[in-house]
């Protein structure tokens, strides 16, 4: 059991709306790492049949397939993207599904955006299937944001990012000595981390496990990864931006499926990082936020 400062944290509302589907590029066909054309599907909008616990690979023409409902800021302010945290509760505040509640399950950056170099950003929310039938693109969703400022007692060198304290309490096994013990499905070497490197601020966007090097995909067994899985990235620091730092550990949650674009791949929302390695990953094939959020039952990682 970990102790946090959650009683001192501000809970604030942020407002977003369900976005249109986003294709692999704003120009129609995208170009894969080996020069092929592809119409990528899976980003943005409402995905009726993609859920936490589903595989990252194998979707037909899938490109960074996101689970659930994709929401982005309702205004130009960056606050929605900065403050939304995994595990926050969300409520529909317009349209036919008004009053339906859900939970934030991912933050996906690096989303292609029409007419510009800057990437888009999606906050991903899981709703009940019956409620999803009533949602539409443009529906407004309010999130009770809580996450910024979260500290774990006794672990000064662990920074938390985009994570609700109650979800963090369920994820972490506890503190052993001076290390936070966190179950993950796999540990990843820094060389496989790609798109999103250098990105700042660390609270927005996500970091890709590259899936455009076939030998690495097989050797690291990346096909085993599922949406919502917890993973640890060795030698990666995600404190004020993302980058290589020897000895650091970053823990993240898988928020999208694979990609065929060079340097892109399975996107990870970073939730914990420590420059001095105050995080001890512990391998657990069932480490997935779906269990902690009541979206999966034990042994139910789908497929």
């Amino acid at each position: 059991m970990i102790k946090t400062n959650k009683d001192k944290m501000i809970v604030t509302q942020i407002l977003g709306e369900i976005v249109h589907p986003v294709l692999g590029t704003d120009l129609g066909y995208m170009t894969t790492w080996n020069g092929k054309s592809k119409l990528g599907i899976g980003m943005g909008s409402i995905k009726y049949n993609v859920k936490i616990g589903d595989p990252c690979f194998g979707w037909a023409q899938g490109e960074n397939v996101e689970p659930g409902v994709a929401i982005d800021r309702a205004t130009e302010s960056q606050a929605f993207r900065m403050l939304a945290s995994l595990g926050n509760s969300a409520a529909v505040v317009s349209g036919e599904a008004k009053g339906a509640t859900g939970v934030v399950i991912g933050k996906h950056g690096n989303v292609p955006q029409p007419g510009g170099h800057a990437a888009g950003h999606h906050v991903l929310v899981a709703f009940e299937e019956s409620d999803m039938e009533k949602l539409s693109i443009g529906t407004k969703v309010a999130v009770k944001a809580r996450g910024v400022g979260l500290r774990i007692e006794g672990l000064e060198d662990v920074k938390t990012l985009s994570i609700d304290p109650e979800l963090l309490e369920r994820i972490c096994v506890g503190v052993d000595g001076r290390e936070l013990v966190v179950p993950v499905v796999m540990e990843l070497p820094a060389y496989i981390m790609g798109q999103g490197g250098g990105g700042s601020p660390a609270e927005t966007s996500s970091f890709a496990i590259q899936t455009s090097s076939p030998i690495d995909v097989e050797e690291l067994k990346l096909r085993r990864l599922r949406l919502g899985d917890l993973v640890a990235c060795r030698d990666i620091l995600s404190a004020w931006g993302r980058g290589y730092y020897r000895g650091a550990v970053t823990v993240g949650v898988v928020c999208s499926g694979s990609s065929d674009i060079a340097g892109h791949g399975i996107e990870v929302t970073c939730i914990l990082t420590s420059a001095s390695g105050q995080i001890r990953p512990r391998l657990d094939t069932e480490a997935n936020i779906g269990y902690h959020l009541g979206l999966l039952r034990p042994g139910m990682r789908r497929g």
């Binding site: 590029t25 995208m30 170009t31 894969t32 790492w33 080996n34 020069g35 690096n110 007419g115 510009g116 170099h117 070497p189 820094a190 060389y191 496989i192 790609g194 798109q195 999103g196 490197g197 250098g198 990105g199 700042s200 601020p201 660390a202 890709a208 590259q210 455009s212 090097s213 030998i215 690495d216 030698d235 620091l237 995600s238 404190a239 004020w240 931006g241 993302r242 980058g243 290589y244 730092y245 020897r246 674009i261 060079a262 340097g263 892109h264």
Partner: protein
């Protein structure tokens, strides 16, 4: 002797405009360890920083992503990444000032690009003194489609035939042997990796925000214009890891204190199937190859 298809390459004019120096719009930038910093060294005209100079200055106290010489930008589209200059200009191309009160007619050389919005031109000191922000520079873009006979699978990128011919590349046992100042392990490649699935308009960074690695690898010895090899990196359609690939690139900008950032590399040659090998040469720098400087 290397043969190319240079006689078949279209030579086409692209236009850019000298831009103001830039900094972060919101004021301070944030370093990898959470400190505030004003960035200086990007955009505008640099009177005392040229291709061939060290790319490590004094990042801790100010400079970050320093760019050598005169910085121009394509303006014909709202997104500078989508302009002719960004996509078609190649390192080593001729440039000429076409609109300027004092510097019209001055001749320079295209030396690289820093994504998303800056292209670099070398001018001699006398000509830089006459240039003003807003002046227009035209580049004879020549190099897109460049192929080396027998090595058609090797991707060339932002590489003029002039630079390719002057790089002292040898062909040995069916491979191109390319002189480089250093080999960089792929796991150090950071900002810019992935990104748009097009190689031409985008550089990516050798990360310099892990101090131990910077010292161990001697990264502070790198110079602007140095030619380096990036191991296990493919830059053929975009940029990313590919086990066994090798990419050759030119260092275009300087160190950084921002997480995941560092000296930027414009890829110029890339192979996923072992067609490129390297030999270390401390003088592998475009300033020498293009006759911009006699020594470093």
């Amino acid at each position: 002797m290397m043969k190319t298809n240079k006689d078949k390459l279209v030579k086409i004019a692209v236009l850019g405009e000298i831009i103001h120096p830039g900094t972060t719009s919101a004021g301070y930038s944030v370093t990898w360890n959470g400190k505030a910093k004003v960035l200086v060294g990007g955009g505008g005209l640099k009177y005392n920083l040229r291709t061939g100079d060290p790319c490590y200055g004094f990042p801790g106290i100010g400079d970050d992503h320093v760019e050598p010489g005169v910085i121009i930008q394509g303006k014909e589209r709202p997104d500078p990444t989508a302009t002719g200059l960004a996509n078609l200009a190649c390192i080593g191309n001729e440039a000429v000032v076409v609109a300027s009160e004092m510097g019209k007619g001055a001749r320079g050389v295209y030396t690289g690009r820093h994504a998303p919005a800056k292209d670099f031109i070398w001018f001699n000191d006398e000509d830089i003194a006459k240039l003003v922000i807003g002046d227009k520079v035209q580049v004879k873009a020549w190099g897109v489609g460049l192929e080396i006979e027998g090595f058609e699978d090797v991707k060339t990128n932002k590489l003029s035939p002039i630079l390719l011919e002057n790089m002292q590349i040898e062909i040995k046992e069916g491979r191109l042997v390319v002189p480089v100042v250093a080999e960089i392990p792929g796991h150090l490649m950071g900002s810019g990796i992935g990104g748009p699935a097009v190689t031409e308009p985008t550089d990516y960074d050798i990360q310099t925000t892990c101090p131990g690695v910077v010292e161990e690898m001697g990264l502070k010895n790198l110079r602007l214009g140095d030619i380096v090899a990036l191991k296990d990196q493919a830059c053929i359609y975009g940029r990313g890891r590919y086990r066994g690939a090798l990419t050759i690139g030119v260092i275009v900008h300087g160190f950084s204190d921002l997480a995941g950032h560092g000296p930027g590399v414009d890829p110029i040659l890339s192979s996923i199937d072992g067609k490129i090998q390297t030999r270390i040469d401390k003088n592998a720098n475009i300033a020498l190859y293009l006759g911009l400087r006699q020594k470093l």
